[in-house]
């Protein structure tokens, strides 16, 4: 059996009387692409923030990359990558300046940053854009760059919060190719998305409804369990039970 890089049980987050995340329990294996689905307001982002060490759970426990999510959140942060749902690079910085900044934040040495920057630009075919301000790049390119920056320090796990929002289908495909490449290199990918067709690309998906995980399995198993032809249909069946208003 493969190593579990994320293992949480009974994870709960309450804001006053509102329970945003309600006792969720699941594992993610090393090298897996794990789809984390749910309607807006289902609690995806809150759950993800607890996994990333940004927010403390009200109750429950878990480990991410081998570190305790309550006591060792600083170590977790050093071992994960994060790409936020809004575009997460600095628009008024050049491509190389963005890379350098995040390299510096993750404590890489200047030499390593330099070498890896060249590799990265080569791989993305971005050599020409090295000194372009990020705001002049097309959106699809920005997303690719943001993803590359998120895994620049070779984290064990990368968290992607709706990485393909607003990107055209062709670009989304290219983006998913990059996700597969990262997974092949052994990086575990934890991804939330709105696009149900993308869920089919994941090794396993979980579907959150009203702060709980209502379904969790491989896309194929979920389809047969719910007698559906697509994950989209599974999602609709589950979402109908939702009580929370968006």
């Amino acid at each position: 059996m493969k190593k579990k890089v994320i293992a949480v049980s009974g994870l709960t987050k309450r804001f006053g009387h509102f329970t945003a995340v309600d006792h969720i329990t699941f594992d993610v294996e090393e090298g897996e692409i794990f789809g984390f689905l749910g309607a807006n307001g289902a609690g995806k982002t809150t759950a993800m923030q607890m996994l990333c060490g940004i927010s403390k759970p009200t109750s429950g426990s878990g480990t991410v990359a081998g570190f305790d999510i309550i006591r060792e959140n600083e170590q977790i942060k050093r071992n994960i990558g994060y790409m936020s749902q809004r575009f997460s690079l600095y628009e008024d910085l050049k491509v190389w300046e963005n890379i350098r900044l995040f390299g510096g934040i993750y404590g890489l040495s200047d030499k390593v940053i330099e070498r890896k920057t060249d590799e990265l630009l080569e791989r993305l075919d971005f050599r020409e854009e090295r000194s372009t301000l990020v705001k002049y790049l097309p959106l699809g390119w920005k997303q690719k760059l943001a993803f590359s920056v998120a895994i620049f320090h070779d984290p064990g796990i990368v968290f992607l919060d709706e990485p393909t929002g607003g990107v055209d289908p062709a670009m989304r495909r290219q983006f998913w190719e990059m996700i597969y490449e990262a997974a092949d290199r052994g990086i575990t990918v934890f991804v939330t998305t709105h696009y149900m067709d993308e869920a089919e690309y994941c090794n396993r998906v979980s579907i959150m409804v009203d702060g709980r995980i209502d379904a969790l399995d491989t896309p194929g198993a979920l389809r047969s369990q719910y007698h559906a032809t697509s994950i989209d249909e599974v999602f609709r069946q589950l979402a109908r039970r939702a009580r929370r208003n968006e």
């Binding site: 994960i80 575009f87 997460s88 008024d92 510096g104 934040i105 404590g107």
Partner: protein
């Protein structure tokens, strides 16, 4: 340390790539100093005056001549009728009219009494009353010359000596005020906006999920604006010393220390605002409203605090600029030492601690 350097560098990229903002934050103190120093002049000069004497005689001519020769007055001529006086006043051509009664000299010599009417335009009350005071002084001096002290058994004269600012120059009053305004508004707005911009653009989430410590980020956010504020301080002091002739009588070191304290306070206030609002535009509005209005109205920069209603006087106690401007005046204009400004310094330090506490508490709450 490496994180801090990388982050400060990034902040400077933001600042230097935004040329217009850079121009505003470095140009504002220069413009303000020159504006207040030259354009906005509270000294009453160039008082436009006309005289009306229905029956000109030696006395009225003497007085006219004295007024003409006085440097504060700008003599507009003699009026022929009372209507002409009123007309000129109404059209705003005159600040002051001196009206003699008919047969002024004869009346004076016979009864020993003469009444000269001074009509001032009080559209600008301050200017009006000062113009009247100048004219009164000239006339009473003339009377003394004519009659001597003979007919009065004793006489009390006052001699005014304006110390610290003998020429009553407005710049002495405004320079500390501008320091209080400019240093605070720039530090507060820029700090709060630069943090909220990260929240608005989503980069804050990425930073929070990174190993970057919050304290490192906050220090890195404030360093560039600390440097810019120090540059502004230098340009304000150079301009006021060399262009406006405002002296720095006290210790320059103490003045710098005071300003540093005030800059730290402004940066802290910017941090506090960044924890209270969510949008850049709100940060600008809150910073501008809570800095500009109190500094202009309640700090004593323009309106003396002692003349305010008690409620406003109490309110002014929480305006940091009040303490800062007071202390700067003491050090810069009066040349006093630390023993006279330590109270202000303690108050400013207390305010910094309070603001930082609020900021930390609010930030902790958000993360939990």
């Amino acid at each position: 340390m490496k994180q801090l350097i990388a982050f400060v560098q990034k902040e400077f990229y933001h600042i230097f790539r935004d040329n217009r903002t850079l121009l505003v934050i470095l140009g504002m103190p220069v413009v303000q100093i020159l504006l207040f120093g030259f354009a906005i002049n509270m000294e009453v000069q160039d008082i436009r005056v006309a005289l009306f004497a229905p029956t000109p005689d030696a006395f009225t001519q003497d007085v006219t001549e004295k007024i003409r020769q006085n440097g504060y007055f700008n003599y507009q001529g003699n009026m022929q009728t009372m209507q002409e006086v009123e007309e000129s006043m109404r059209k705003g051509k005159l600040d002051l009219a001196v009206v003699f009664p008919p047969h002024f000299q004869r009346e004076m010599l016979h009864s020993g009494e003469g009444v000269v009417q001074l009509i001032t335009s009080s559209a600008d009350p301050n200017r009006g009353s000062i113009a009247a005071t100048y004219a009164t002084a000239i006339i009473s001096q003339y009377r003394m010359e004519q009659t001597g002290a003979a007919d009065i058994p004793f006489q009390i004269s006052t001699e005014n000596r304006m110390i610290y600012n003998p020429r009553m120059k407005s710049a002495y009053m405004f320079v500390p005020g501008i320091m209080g305004l400019v240093l605070m508004i720039i530090s507060t707005i820029m700090t709060s906006v630069s943090i909220i911009r990260e929240k608005e653009r989503g980069t804050m989430e990425v930073l929070l999920a990174s190993p970057l410590k919050q304290a490192t980020m906050i220090v890195a956010k404030t360093i560039p604006y600390l440097i810019i504020s120090l540059l502004n301080l230098i340009s304000i002091l150079l301009l006021s010393y060399f262009v406006l002739d405002v002296p720095i009588r006290g210790s320059l070191l103490l003045l710098t220390l005071l300003s540093l304290l005030y800059i730290f306070l402004s940066l802290s206030y910017g941090l506090t605002i960044s924890t209270l609002v969510q949008k850049q535009i709100n940060a600008v509005i809150v910073s501008a409203m809570t800095v500009m209005i109190p500094v202009l109205m309640l700090s004593g920069m323009i309106f003396p605090i002692n003349n305010m209603p008690p409620a406003l006087q109490y309110l002014s106690l929480v305006v940091p600029a009040r303490w800062f401007i007071d202390a700067v005046r003491k050090v810069m204009i009066q040349g006093l030492g630390i023993s006279m400004v330590w109270q202000e310094m303690v108050i400013l330090t207390g305010m910094i601690l309070l603001l930082l506490t609020v900021t930390i508490v609010k930030t902790k709450k958000r993360l939990e």
